[in-house]
């Protein structure tokens, strides 16, 4: 193989291509700089515009888990009765990729979904960037707001964020509840008795005893992974129960609030009292690993999202019994124990309308939301395996009898607390996740981890006026 050793002159294809690339660069840079000035959310009409009679596919985007499949089946069965020309498609992405998949499409100002199912904490980012419709007027005209616990309505729709437990009726709404959720305590009735522990301290000592009495079974199982919001929700839950606060929304202070005495105590309880009761190597566990531990009979007490607990009753996945009844003889579900407060984490997601959807689809989306929030439909959703939000549906036998953990949800509704739903959420939660995960796995001391979280989160909030710089 020989190469001519002359160099320096540009080949013809190279030069042409260079020019083409330069032209493309100019064009796209102009486009990149020109796009995206709409920094406030566009408004949805108060009344639903006339709906199309042509075939239409209404697309959702969610992450891949059983409720997503339940929603698609339910909507196609029930909504089609009212709108036969509409097909509902729930697109699913891997959980770890959920936020990115939605927001990269938002950023492109082109979405292949009409209804993004956002976590309550994603609202700030979506609203600030003008990605979802302001549906305040639509809600006023079409939704019976009194049928809901006000905080549930606020949590999945209101921005700026509501105070815990309340709704600001003057604030704008950007979404409606789709699937409610919170943590449930899952306990082994055959190992610790029928009565669930009432306080956090009691829960820990029961777990300790259970672990000592039953070799091979660990006392506790909970989320510790550093992906998604796993470890962060765990710490936030303990923080709430021990009377801590995540931040002061009015002054936007995290440093000094999160890591105050209550916060430190919570971190200490989590790392020094709870972590030693978990299985070895459980430091990367999230929803499915906790479920596996329970199903394999390896945990006395576990914490998991209610909406993710259905699989526990499936005898095919479980070693606890050959039938659902046998499994239920051993597994109990209860609301979380309380300590200084009785707060529980708010989970679940709302329905929102993509600002980049065609008008016909946006109209259909609004119509779907109105339809979905009716009392009888909410009950049917409950019966189909969903978790409704209307108070009447939450108290209906359709819901309460559908699954053993549904009562837990109804009982927990007044106790919920959310995280921050500011535009910087993705980075705040990542900071908390990695640091709590580090503390749980001995890579940082509890105090060090908490102080680092507070400091780093504070600097994210403080520098949020900047745009794409920073962020390390």
């Amino acid at each position: 193989m020989r190469y001519p050793q002359r160099r320096g002159r540009l080949s013809v294809p190279g030069r042409k291509a260079g020019l083409a690339a330069a032209a493309l660069l100019v064009a796209t840079t102009a486009a990149a700089c020109g796009g995206g000035q709409n920094d406030s959310a566009p408004k949805a009409p108060a009344t639903i515009p006339e709906l199309t009679k042509d075939p239409l596919t209404l697309s959702f985007i969610w992450f891949d888990w059983p409720p997503a499949h339940a929603l698609e089946a339910f909507a196609n069965a029930e909504y089609a009765k009212e709108r036969p020309n509409v097909t509902v498609k729930v697109k699913t992405v891997p959980n770890a990729n959920w936020h990115d998949a939605m927001f990269t499409q938002f950023a492109a100002h082109k979405t292949d979904f009409d209804i993004p199912i956002l976590d309550s904490q994603h609202i700030g980012e979506a609203v600030t960037n003008g990605n979802i419709l302001d549906i305040t007027d639509f809600v006023k005209k079409n939704i019976d707001v009194k049928a809901y616990n006000p905080y549930l309505l606020a949590a999945y729709g209101q921005f700026p964020q509501a105070e815990t437990g309340k709704r600001d009726e003057n604030a704008s709404l950007y979404g409606l509840p789709l699937l409610g959720d919170t943590w449930t305590m899952i306990y082994r009735k055959d190992l610790i008795g029928d009565k669930p522990p009432q306080t956090w301290d009691e829960m820990i000592s029961v777990a300790e005893k259970c672990q000592a009495d039953n070799p091979g079974v660990s006392g506790l199982a909970f989320h510790q992974a550093n992906g998604s919001d796993a470890a962060a929700v765990t710490y936030n839950t303990v923080n709430g129960v021990y009377g801590g606060n995540l931040w002061n929304p009015r002054t936007r202070k995290i440093d000094g609030v999160l890591n105050d005495a209550a916060g430190q105590e919570a971190m200490d309880v989590l790392v020094n009292k709870m972590k030693p009761l978990t299985a070895k190597g459980s430091g990367n566990w999230f929803i499915d690993e906790v479920n596996a531990a329970v199903a394999q009979g390896k945990a006395c007490i576990a914490f998991n999202w209610i909406a993710a607990s259905g699989g526990l009753l499936d005898p095919k996945q479980s070693t606890l019994g050959a039938t659902r009844e046998e499994i239920l003889d051993k597994l109990g579900f209860a609301a979380l124990p309380s300590q200084k407060t009785n707060l529980v984490p708010l989970g679940g997601m709302g329905m929102h309308v993509s600002a980049y959807s065609p008008e016909a689809n946006q109209a259909e989306a609004l119509n779907f939301m109105k339809w979905f929030e009716q009392a009888d439909i909410q009950k049917k959703w409950a019966a189909a395996g969903g978790v409704p939000s209307r108070t009447d549906a939450l108290e209906s036998p359709e819901f309460l009898d559908a699954a053993p953990f549904n009562q837990v949800y109804t009982d927990s509704v007044p106790r919920m607390r959310d995280m921050w739903n500011v535009p910087e959420y993705a980075r705040l939660v990542d900071i908390e996740n990695t640091n709590v995960n580090a503390a749980l796995n001995g890579a940082k001391t509890p105090k060090e981890a908490l102080d680092d979280i507070a400091k780093e989160q504070q600097s994210v909030l403080d520098s949020s006026s900047g745009k794409g710089g920073g962020g390390l």
């Binding site: 540009l10 080949s11 013809v12 690339a21 990367n284 580090a438």
Partner: protein
């Protein structure tokens, strides 16, 4: 990018002074058609490369001087070198650089030693070499996704088969993926498992190419085996092995998918490599400007490694 400079220079496009394959056939028409052919045949490929590789990098270079964000609108402000100084002075980045260094050095060293050892052992066998080599190559052909997922399952502290086997041997459970040290070691081990065959394959090619008469001469001289290995085998295989090592180093430096699936950077951030950190900056906070600068810096490192690689490759070809 050995030489991106010509892209910006503006020379008249005279090239491809077609050398006729046989002397005495330099008719003008033939020259022209050869030159035309050369242009017509190379330009589509080059155009695609320019559009999909060079242009994006130039764009990233431009963005790296700004505070552009892919999700927050508004025009980008020029920050010039602010992003670069922020990255180079950030202790967060230093930590990831160290992790990456440990990972690259650890993994490449381990797979070189193992790969060469296996190749050496195989080269000494008379029978079953074809089968052995084929079997050893299986891990290399698997997608990193499959490798990552499956090792995650096998290394699970509670339900994984590795700890189960250790348990049968009377050893305790190891927290493969959640210990601060062990997680990085696991990452290195999995990468080694997948890529030892690569080194083995190339080392084997080198070992088989050593002419036997050299050994015969050495055996007449009654040279010790170690002496023969050191003076004949190693010097002859070394250049080829070096290529393999550099190639692996570049690949390991670029690694993303295995971290993403196996540990997602945990526990804490102790297995976050530079690639993984760039991803977080780019897609969690959408700090596109910073992420671009970060990426450009990584590209610089790759360019240096690639230059080394190409230099050795060239040397090898000239020999």
């Amino acid at each position: 990018m050995s030489d991106p400079a010509p892209l910006t220079t503006d020379h008249p496009g005279q090239v491809a002074s077609a050398t006729p394959p046989a002397p005495g056939r330099s008719r003008r028409s033939r020259r022209l058609s050869d030159r035309g052919l050369a242009v017509a045949f190379t330009s589509p490929a080059l155009l695609l490369l320019l559009a999909m590789s060079v242009f994006p990098l130039l764009w990233a270079l431009y963005l790296s001087f700004t505070d552009y964000s892919a999700t927050r609108g508004g025009p980008a402000q020029f920050l010039w070198f602010e992003n670069y100084t922020a990255i180079l002075t950030s202790p967060q980045v230093h930590q990831r650089a160290l992790t990456t260094l440990v990972y690259v050095v650890g993994a490449v060293t381990l797979q070189t030693v193992l790969g060469f050892a296996i190749a050496y052992l195989i080269s000494r066998r008379t029978h079953g070499r074809g089968l052995l080599t084929t079997l050893f190559l299986v891990p290399m052909m698997l997608s990193p996704v499959v490798v990552g997922l499956f090792w995650r399952f096998m290394l699970d502290a509670q339900f994984g088969v590795i700890n189960s086997m250790l348990g049968s041997l009377g050893l305790g459970q190891v927290e493969w993926l959640t210990g601060q040290r062990t997680a990085l070691i696991s990452l290195i081990l999995v990468d080694t498992w997948q890529w030892t065959p690569f080194i083995m394959l190339i080392a084997l090619a080198g070992l088989t190419a050593v002419p036997t008469y050299l050994y015969e001469a050495a055996s007449i001289d009654r040279a010790s085996e170690w002496f023969r290995f050191r003076t004949i085998t190693l010097p002859l295989v070394w250049p080829l092995l070096l290529i393999a090592v550099l190639f692996r180093a570049i690949e390991a430096f670029r690694l993303f998918d295995l971290v993403y699936i196996l540990t997602s950077g945990g526990p804490g951030v102790s297995t976050e490599t530079l690639s993984f950190h760039v991803y977080k900056v780019a897609f969690l906070g959408f700090n596109t400007g910073t992420a671009s600068a970060y990426g450009i810096l990584m590209v610089l490192v790759v360019i240096v490694l690639t230059q080394l690689y190409l230099r050795y490759l060239n040397k090898l070809k000239e020999d």
